[in-house]
Every structure is written in C-alpha cells, then in structure tokens.
C-alpha cells in the first residue's frame, strides 16, 4: 500500500479583507463577498515566501510521519512564485530540514496545479520502489495586479505530503490527469503580474478540466460521488469548486471541510493540497477522499485517497490548518498590504 504517511500545512498570520480591497478600488464589497464567496485572504509576511512556507509545512509533515529527514529520497516543490527565477526552492528546504544532501530535488511549475504534480511524482517514485519516502509540496505567495479581480483572491500558503509504503494514513487508490493547450491565464518571463482571459477562465478552462479529470477518475476507480466522505476541488474562489461539485453530484456537506478559500483565498499551488490537509486533520479511518486540482494553461490532476487506521494518531501531532487560519489573524489596511507585497516603488536597497 502506497500513499500519504505524513502531512503538514501552513498559512501566514497576515490577512486583508475583500472589503478592504474593494473599497480601495471603488468596488462593491457585497458583490465580491457574494460573487466570489470570499471574506478575506492570507498575505505573506515580509519575511515569508514559497520557501519558508514550504519549510513550515514540510517540518510538520516530517513530525507527523515520525521519520528521520534523511530517509526522504526526493523533494519536489510546486509553485508559481519560487523566490528565485534560477535556483531551485528545494535546495534551501533540504538544507533547512536536514534532508540533504543525498536527495533528488526539483521545482515544478504549472500555475495552480504544480503542488499536485509534485505529489503525483513523489507518489509514483515510492510506488515504483525507487525510494522509501518522497516529499511533494504545493506552496505559493501569488499576486494579482492592483485593481485586478485576482487581487481579491491571490493569497499565500501551502501543504506538504510525505509519500511512503509503511504506516500509510491515506492510501492513494487512483490517479488521473487531463491536460490541454488552453491559454486562460499566463505570465511571460520578466512580466510582474499574470494576464488572464476574463470569463474564458471559467467554462473552457476550470470547468472543462476539473470535470473531465473528476469523471475520468470516478470511471477508472469505479466509485460514485456518494461513496466519498470528502471532496476538494481547486479553489480559485468559493463559487467555482461548489459549482463543479454540484455538476458532478457532490453535496455541500462533502465539500465543507476542505473549502478553506472563503477565509484563506486562493493559495494557487497550495489550494487543493491545503484543502486535503484540512480533511486529513479530521477524517476517520476508511473515509474516501476525492481531490481534483486545476492549473491554468491548462490541466487537472485527480486523486482518490482512502484513509487508514493509522490516521487518527497523527492528527494532533502538529497544528491543524483550520487552527492556523483562526489564530493570530493580523489584519492589514491597503497601504500596509501594498508595502508587504512590494506593490509600490521604494527608494531603498531591496
């Protein structure tokens, strides 16, 4: 049996309310809250980035797994906000956590689904018998352009999963991917903010790929929507995953636990993985979980997990993601937010 043997998730303590952003740009706070189902989002501290978020999440994953860091044979970080354009995020992480130097490291990119790519490859390496443990991480500190619709949702956070074949807490029963050339959202080299194709990001992009991957994995695994205790779909806002769930025949109850977006925002590569972490924090043995990510460009990765008797003992070994979302929330006004995210030009060395 191969699957998750340890997990961890992290969000920064800073927040900005959707209302605060709406007021800055003369938008209507109510229409943002109702239209996107979003109250507030996380903001990285000035000393946080994809690497520090990944280290925090992976430290808890190692703690839960109860393994020695150097037993991990591969580390993959999926993100669209790696701090360096050239120099992998994973190189810093493996030295911070004592995993290296005898380890295979790579950074992945695929808009919001880079995290599930990392998880997929980590899982596949363990399944192939190449190594005992492999670590897959999804984390981001993404930005929307000032005044752009994405600014309401682009947030910071991530989750880390150690794959192994001993004391598995959530077995991976099936995987499925669906990918096409769909230019719904992109950013070219040296461009600061991404471009997106407005409404085109919905039906031809998010829904086409998420629904196809979900239908594909349901057919492949022989499961029906009602078999699952929980489902989590990529959360670019609150509305899209709930609409996808409804179309596929999943209920609001199956979605509730993983639906962190309303108070976390869209953590991009960390989005559906963080939702999965929230589910593992509370699931009971034997629960079936469906995860479907989405990355613009575009593609979806789907996983069917089944939790085991080993799960409950690990749940309290590290902070739960909903605890991190609720404690020590530090609200920023728009000016502080612009400074934190370096949206204004400074006459200073950095």
């Amino acid at each position: 049996m191969v699957g998750i043997v340890g997990w961890g998730a992290y969000v920064p303590c800073y927040r900005i309310k959707a209302e605060t952003i709406a007021r800055q740009w003369g938008g209507d706070p109510e229409s943002v809250r109702k239209g996107l189902l979003l109250e507030e989002k996380t903001v990285p501290g000035m000393d946080e980035d994809t690497i520090t978020i990944s280290v925090a999440a992976a430290r808890d994953a190692i703690e839960r797994a109860g393994i020695a860091p150097h037993e991990i044979g591969a580390v993959y970080i999926g993100s669209e906000s790696h701090p360096y354009a050239v120099k992998p995020s994973g190189t810093v992480l493996i030295d911070a956590l004592g995993i290296g130097p005898h380890v295979h490291v790579a950074d992945y990119e695929f808009a919001c689904k880079a995290g599930t790519e990392a998880m997929f490859v980590a899982y596949s390496l363990v399944k192939a018998g190449q190594m005992k443990y492999a670590l897959g991480i999804g984390a981001d500190t993404s930005q929307g352009a000032p005044g752009d619709a994405l600014e309401y949702t682009a947030s910071a956070g991530g989750a880390a999963f150690i794959m192994g074949d001993d004391k598995v807490v959530a077995e991976i029963q099936a995987t499925y991917s669906y990918t096409s050339d769909t230019p719904d959202f992109w950013r070219k080299e040296l461009e600061h903010y991404p471009q997106h194709a407005g409404r085109f990001t919905g039906e031809p992009a998010y829904f086409r790929h998420v629904l196809a991957a979900a239908r594909g994995i349901l057919e492949q695994s022989g499961h029906q929507p009602q078999d699952f205790a929980y489902a989590v779909f990529h959360m670019p806002n609150g509305k899209f995953p709930l609409k996808a769930a409804k179309t596929l025949g999943f209920t609001r109850e199956q979605m509730e636990e993983g639906l962190l977006v309303t108070t976390m925002g869209n953590t991009y590569s960390g989005s559906s993985p963080t939702g999965l972490a929230a589910i593992l924090d509370v699931a009971r043995p034997g629960d079936l979980i469906l995860l479907v990510s989405f990355g613009s460009g575009a593609g979806s990765d789907a996983f069917v997990f089944q939790t085991t008797d080993h799960l409950p003992a690990l749940q309290d070994k590290a902070p739960k993601i909903r605890t991190l979302l609720e404690r020590n929330r530090r609200y920023l006004d728009y000016g502080q937010y612009a400074k934190f995210r370096r949206k204004i030009i400074f006459n200073s060395p950095v």
């Binding site: 303590c13 000393d47 690497i51 520090t52 925090a56 360096y84 810093v92 902070p319 404690r327 060395p349």
Partner: protein
C-alpha cells in the same frame, strides 16, 4: 553577502547546529574552536531544540538599510530549552503582546537581502507559541 560565507553559516542559521564539547558537555552556539568550560578542542554537532522562552527584547525604530521597511520590529534574546541563548527577531507580534518568559519557538524565515540582485539570506526568527 558572499556565497562562500553564506554556506559556512547554513548549519547554524538553518538547522541550529551547536558544538557540544566532548570534554564537559557544554553547548556552544555558534560553535567555537576551544571550549570556555574546560579548554577542550573536541566537539560534536548537536541540534538545538526550537522551543524556548523570551528573556528580553527591544523595539527597533531606526534600522539598517536592509531592514528599513520592517520597522518597527522586535529583536529579542531567546533562551532555548536546554539553556543556549541567542539573539534574533521576534516576528508576527505587537510588542504589547510580549512578556518575559513568554514561550516562543524558532521558525525559518527570510532575514535579508543586501540588494535586490543578491542572494536571499534565510535563517531563524522567534514567534510566540500561541497554542
């Protein structure tokens, strides 16, 4: 910062590796060449715990250029479980929340960049344990 200097400090700044004297057992952080307890020159690496308490702190209002955007910020002295003391920033808090003896833990954060094109220097900061 020079890359050669940076990687020399990685074991301490990233992983809190202290030098433990094999003569008298005293922990030195950062490690040193000669033990000031017994004069021994033999050490083994020991990883310090990340938990500790806040001994004292000050609030920085006039900062060096690399930290000027972060003011006001807190710098404190932390005593880790086991007794080793170190100086670092205390992040994610208001000074009014701090107290002598407050439980803290060390987290991995960006410390500074000397300029926008330079390497990012990572290391430890303390945050309040809020369980």
């Amino acid at each position: 910062m020079k890359s050669a200097q940076y990687i020399r400090e990685v074991p301490q700044r990233y992983r809190l590796e202290a030098g433990k004297c094999t003569g008298c057992g005293k922990l030195h952080f950062p490690p040193r060449l000669v033990c000031d307890g017994c004069g021994s020159r033999e050490f083994e690496a020991a990883t310090l715990p990340r938990q500790g308490t806040l001994l004292t702190w000050t609030v920085i209002h006039a900062a060096p250029p690399q930290f000027s955007l972060e003011t006001p910020y807190v710098v404190g002295i932390v005593e880790l479980d086991g007794g080793v003391r170190l100086t670092c920033q205390v992040a994610d808090c208001d000074p009014e929340e701090l107290a002598v003896g407050a439980p803290v833990e060390l987290v991995f954060r960006r410390i500074k960049e000397d300029n926008a094109a330079d390497i990012i220097q990572y290391g430890y900061k303390a945050v309040l344990r809020r369980e």
